[in-house]
Amino acid sequence: MTTATCQHCGDPILAHSDGGEGFCCKGCRGAYELINGLGLKSYYDRRVLDPEAKALRPDEEGAVIDYRAHIIEEDGGTNTLYLMVEGIHCAACVWLIETALGRQDGVQQARVNMSTRRLVLKWQNEGLDPNQVVAIITGLGYRLVPYDPCLLNSENEKGERELLKAMAVAGFAAANVMLFSVSVWAGYSQGMQDSTRDLMHWLSALVALPAVAYSGRPFYRSALTALRLGRLNMDVPISLAVLLAAGMSLFQVINGAEHAYFDSSISLLFFLLVGRYLDRRARGRARGAAEHLLGLNAVAVTVINEDGTKSLLPPDQVHEDMTVLCAAGERVAVDGVIIDGQSDIDTSLISGESVPVMVRCEDQVFAGTTNLSGPIKIRVTATGEGTLLAEIVRLMEEAEAGRANYVALADRVARYYAPVVHVLALVTFFYWLIPGGIVWNEALLNAIAVLIITCPCALALAVPVVQVIASGRLMRQGILVKTGTALERLSHVSNVVFDKTGTLTLGRAELINQDEFSQEELELAASLAGASKHPLSRALCRAVPHIAIRSSVQEVPGCGLEADGVRLGSRAWCGNVDAPLSEGPELWLAVEGKEAKCLKFADHLRSDAKDVIEKLKSRGYGIHLLSGDRVEPAQKVANDLSIENWQAGCSPRDKCDALEKMDHSLMVGDGLNDAPALAAAHVSLSPSTAIDVSQTTADAVFQGDKLRPVLEVLGVARKADILVKQNFGLAFAYNAITIPLAMAGYVTPLIAAVAMSTSSLVVIANALRLSRGKLS
């Protein structure tokens, strides 16, 4: 039998799918109909451009955001909405979104930027409801988060553009000046007249000087800042060499001298700018993920006024002692005490506990948790900065501040390298001036030659090139490296610390004792479960799909579901209080007149978790498990994966404290309760299913249901570390040969230029070895 695949997402269709013929789920069917209805069926042909791409499965449980609050009105009656789009993976997605939006009446412009995953939507002021327009895109499975462009038009983007401009100018100038120089070198052996040579030199000056002034600014600025703080960095010798070489060459040309160094100074700038631009670009996309954080505060709060009316207020206008209503399925936005209603609260964000907690009157709830089953009224005790959520964020920032002290290897090298270079140049100058007995400008020329030849061209490329290639390799496997020093820090790791829920496990419950039930019983249970958003109900529906929901189902908040004398819910509500406790979460099914039966659930481990842990152990890493969950589930996971060092019931602070005692730890975690630990660890990794705060805090984010990226990222980091060191070795070897030559005054512009380019190419070629092949 051939497996049928879903017409929308291309995944195989399982038996009992609830999407009807040809679809794997209702969401896909809806999306397919929507695309067809808009006449955009060619989307499915376009998708062939990237065979790996699959359409998204629309999320059936998506929260509703009111986009009207985020409209920016511009002159001339144009409204603009800035949105981040999650789920774009190929050009067909871009086409689908743009065309689907463009076909709505009144929409003027819909433009998606594929690199930054941002959407700009413009329309005329004609009573168009943005929520309706945007609902089409969410119906296709993309997730949208509004963002504020003023906050985002960041320094980074401007910086990247400036580097690109500087690079273009330097490239143009370097190419032309090099042509003049070749003419001069060629002419030198063929008896070129002095006047022609001078003309060439003047033309070089004409092109090179403005370019040096313009393109060098990123270096001069950084060098000046370092000098002002009384420090030396790599940019100081670079700036000094470039400016001295250009200035000195001008002086030489005015005096009609034989040699000029314009070509060296400008092509040095060009090479360095290439390195710097690549370095910045590699991290450009990863940064986008961090910016999702801005979407977190987009939830409005329903406040019940004293006269009983309801009003929607932005979170910052809610005060203590107000009464807030939180509907089922909504996120709690404040800390408070329940004064009416009972419900189940998903606290996984705060505590890491995977099973929802039952709450009723007088119980405390915290901002960031999700209300699952019934509406509750909350008397506010803390908002904004006062909440537990904010406390966690503060803890995280504290921890992060500690890590900011890490100095990248390149900077550490520069700290020693720069003074040495300057001393060598100075020694050369005085040696030639006094014992050498030559005129000052010739002596200075030799000193400049030393500066140029030692110039950290290879050295400056050594680190960025390796990092760019390593990041590229990791990105192809769905791992985004966000911070510049992350790879370096990863190479030092000796302890790997895992969180449990959502990291070692997939973070969603699955039914495990299906075979203890008859098919009728399962279908009965599923027909009730379909009415609820409780994670265990969803799990039951996944296990027994394609069951119609009963019409008469009543949800009793904090207890469970009831219909026609059948109950599905908690142990206390459904009957058998005395039955032995199960290891994981459970649901009880009680049919009138029969004994209640227990449906057991478990959060499955990631399929390759055991394998990965074993490999990590065999490579000599210490493995730890720090979980916020209860002792039993944590112990079970630790036993299954044979992790000896484990700790359950950890608060965010406990995790930080535990990490402090370890040296060079890699923290892998996903929840908000892990965020401070992610910040406190030497280096950190998050799955892409993690919440935004964790993704922002982590140094790298990985996608997919496998744990293998942890191995890969450690392997690549080790290899990258070796290559960086080799590159430094190559750069130093090159210097060891050329510096004496330069000090001895043998370096002509030709040798300087050739030597410089060769050393850069060697470094790049060495780094390229990382792009392919297996890691040992």
């Binding site: 006449g39 190929c90 050009a91 463009g102 553009r161 143009f172 033309l203």
Partner: protein
Amino acid sequence: MKSLLYLIPAMLFLGGLGLAGFLWALKSGQYDDMEGNASRILFDDDEAPLPPEEKNNE
């Protein structure tokens, strides 16, 4: 040698033209989305929003 008098300015001019073109492209935002634009050219239809009656015909 006289040809140099024409060739050098011509070279600088053409090179400068290329540079100016690049800077213009950069300024007009053509480098903002390298990935998107690379695939965008493969879409051969520049579809304007269809009027409602045509939508039904499709």
